[in-house]
Point group: C2
Chain length 217, copies 2
């Protein structure tokens, strides 16, 4: 008796196909790339500034900054020493693979080792759009509150690393780190986490070591 | 010679039509309603808690809380003394008029004077979806940084009032209030603004007075 053989195939979305192409271009050029995601004001640009300043001697750095409007972020990344490109999404609440593809065309990729992509400030939508970068990193921030993993699970569950920024504000804010970490652990067990302060630079060394380890395997 | 007469008609989107219906229902029941929008962690729920506690003697209060997941926010609003309803958007990054309509059906509106709607934490998308509430209010937060009006103009340009929360953190954070206010003024001249701290309760009286003035015209 003939049996029906189920054929299950992963059909890639248009976005995911272009993300794969982006990854191939980055790999071919030997560029290690990170997609930084966070709420508005969690410290994406500050982290990029510190990372660029501290790694400029070892890596040739590029930054691609996504925002609704202005070039404030790319200006800051450029001032820190990166080759910077601003994407203005014109209202769209996230970057997608097409936007990254278009931005990559403006870089001679062979000239770079490390690319930092700053997504639009948003704790919901960017999680749904793969860009093709090697790592997705989420920046949480102490003033946002300790309940964010529970309330924005989509953003926490698939990232490769978590930065908890603004730990210098812990004395002034009610933030239960154990409650926060339990929420993260439920969604993304064992997630590598870096508590840092871009203001005092505490914890930055561990983050930079993680980049170095991953960028030069 | 016949001239072509241009016929320009505002076609309401499906969302806007339902928003109008929501407004009509609220007006008919005599419920004054506010849509609170902000980034994740800016203090929407804390503001609702304070507002409910302080106005409970004068107003019969309801809260409708929108989140990706959990009922944390509605639980807090209920604990503060409001009749609270949680909307879980299941991933969607904003409330829309249909979600509010469905939530309103769960309230006997004639039993209430004041409705506080807490939108999903997001500084981009909620601005595009009218709910039908009487006022749209944005909560900014000191730790988010002073450049947010420039980078998220869509959210600032159409709101009816602006709350600047967490002013108790001003001593610990580089935040240029003049630069922030200039950005707001460019987008929304003369916007009524309430600097407050939900932690110390500084500035809350002015916010509560604004509600009383608008709710009982």
């Amino acid at each position: 008796m003939p049996k029906r053989i189920p054929v299950v195939e992963k059909i890639l979305s248009a976005n995911d196909r272009i993300a794969q192409e982006n990854r191939a271009r980055l790999d071919e050029a030997g560029v290690f790339s990170i997609n930084l995601m966070a709420s508005p004001g969690a410290g994406k640009t500050s982290l990029i500034e510190h990372t660029v300043q501290r790694l400029a001697r070892q890596f040739r750095l590029a930054a691609i900054d996504g925002d609704i409007a202005t070039s404030i972020d790319a200006d800051r990344a450029a001032a820190a020493g990166a080759t910077a490109i601003q994407i203005n999404t014109g209202g769209q609440c996230h970057l997608d693979a097409v936007m990254l593809r278009d931005a990559l065309k403006q870089l001679d990729l062979i000239e770079f080792d490390l690319l930092l992509v700053e997504n639009v400030g948003n704790l919901v939508c960017p999680a749904d759009f793969e860009l093709g970068t090697h790592k997705n990193v989420l920046i949480a921030s102490i003033p946002e509150g300790d309940d964010k993993p529970y309330k924005y699970p989509g953003m926490y569950k698939d990232v490769d690393a978590l930065i908890v920024n603004k730990i210098d504000l812990l004395p002034y804010i009610a933030f239960d780190m154990d409650y926060f970490r339990r929420g993260v652990e439920l969604l993304n067990p064992g997630l590598v986490t870096f508590p840092i302060s871009c203001r005092t630079t505490e914890g930055l060394d561990e983050w930079l070591d993680w980049i170095k380890t991953n960028a030069r395997p």
